[in-house]
């Protein structure tokens, strides 16, 4: 699968690494300059730029991507990137990360989000289930 992962170090990179290890073709968009070589060393294609700018998404191959993961630390950015991916680039599957559980309800189809990952909410529901 062709997958675009957006976000800097941390979760985004771990996701990208794992997907690449499983044989997917992964492109990472990162706003931080100079990370391309480190990412390339890990076998990942890297695009440096702002994913809120449509040309950056296009350079990362958004028109051909099967999956896009909006995984930045800003919920606002993740929502806007998801909607751009869905509306402008028709990416079939858009997955977004929720940083603040208060914003959970925004992450739905009206923002182009097919699935959300909310670490805090997931943890809380796991704790509830076990107690």
């Amino acid at each position: 699968m062709r997958i675009i992962v957006i976000g800097g170090t941390g979760l985004a990179e771990q996701v990208a690494d794992a997907l690449h290890g499983a044989g997917d073709e992964v492109t990472v968009i990162d706003t931080e300059p100079g990370r391309e070589s480190a990412l390339a060393k890990a076998g990942l294609r890297a695009v440096h730029g702002d994913a809120l700018v449509p040309s950056t998404l296009e350079a990362a191959g958004a028109l051909r991507a099967d999956v896009l993961v909006a995984c930045t630390q800003s919920d606002e950015d993740n929502l806007v990137i998801s909607l751009l991916a869905k509306k402008r680039f028709n990416v079939p599957r858009v997955i977004a990360r929720v940083n603040d559980p208060a914003n959970d309800e925004l992450f739905n189809h009206s923002w182009g989000v097919d699935a959300l990952v909310s670490p805090a909410t997931a943890l809380v529901s796991m704790i509830r289930q076990e107690s």
Binding site: L52, S74, D75, E76, L79, V80, K87, N103
Partner: protein, 218 residues
């Protein structure tokens, strides 16, 4: 008019104060609780602490009954998200958002959000004042990308036709005043000494118009 504003920085505060003075009922949403303490004593607008993208916060600010929503935070994506929530979920009739990074303009356009672009407006205005002082605009449109300019036709251009000034996508002659009478000229209308023309011109083509009028006809 009931107005909700997100972002209580310099612009948000000034806008809220001005709307309040004009009789509007204003609520300001601000993420940073230290801002409230710094507000001037005379600030009478309602203050709601929270993130303006959050529907609960917007509701607390009275978004359900607002006639206008203005997103003025320093963060473009926060402005896009809250503007779209205000428009699509709460059907606020008038929604405006501030645009900081001109590179984000396509996103606002794609989502149909009307913007006020501080960078673009400032750049267009400064270029206008530095390079094109002689072409003072009668009206500017959008964020200053398009202007309506009036100028007297210099004597040496008498006999030229209106069509010679028209550059598709850049410059268009929309009006001609001659001896106190105004008309919409035909492309074939010949110009006379003393005519005054109204041009609709792209900000990026002001230099070209100036060279037309200033003797550097190319």
């Amino acid at each position: 008019m009931q107005v909700v504003i997100t972002g209580c920085g310099r612009t948000g505060r000034a806008l809220a104060t001005r709307l309040d003075a004009e009789g509007d009922k204003v609520t300001v949403i601000e993420l940073d609780d230290t801002v409230k303490r710094g507000l001037p004593a005379g600030f009478r607008c309602r203050f709601v602490l929270g993130n303006g993208i959050n529907p609960r916060v917007l509701e607390a600010a009275g978004i359900a009954h607002a006639e206008a929503f203005v997103a003025l935070t320093p963060n473009d994506s926060a402005n896009i998200v809250s503007a779209r929530v205000a428009r699509d979920i709460y059907q606020v009739p008038h929604v405006l958002a501030r645009l900081h990074d001109p590179a984000h303009a396509p996103v606002y356009t794609q989502f149909g959000i009307a913007t006020v672009g501080s960078v673009q407006t400032t750049v267009n205005r400064v270029i206008q004042l530095l390079h094109h002082r002689t072409l003072e605009p009668h009206q500017t449109f959008g964020n200053g990308e398009t202007l309506l300019v009036r100028s007297r036709v210099p004597a040496y251009l008498a006999g030229r036709r209106v069509a010679e000034f028209n550059v598709p996508g850049e410059i268009g002659v929309v009006e001609l005043s001659r001896a106190g009478h105004s008309k919409i000229p035909e492309p074939s209308t010949p110009l006379e000494d003393g005519d005054v023309l109204s041009f609709i011109v792209a900000a990026t083509s002001l230099g070209r118009l100036r060279s037309f009028l200033g003797g550097k006809w190319s």
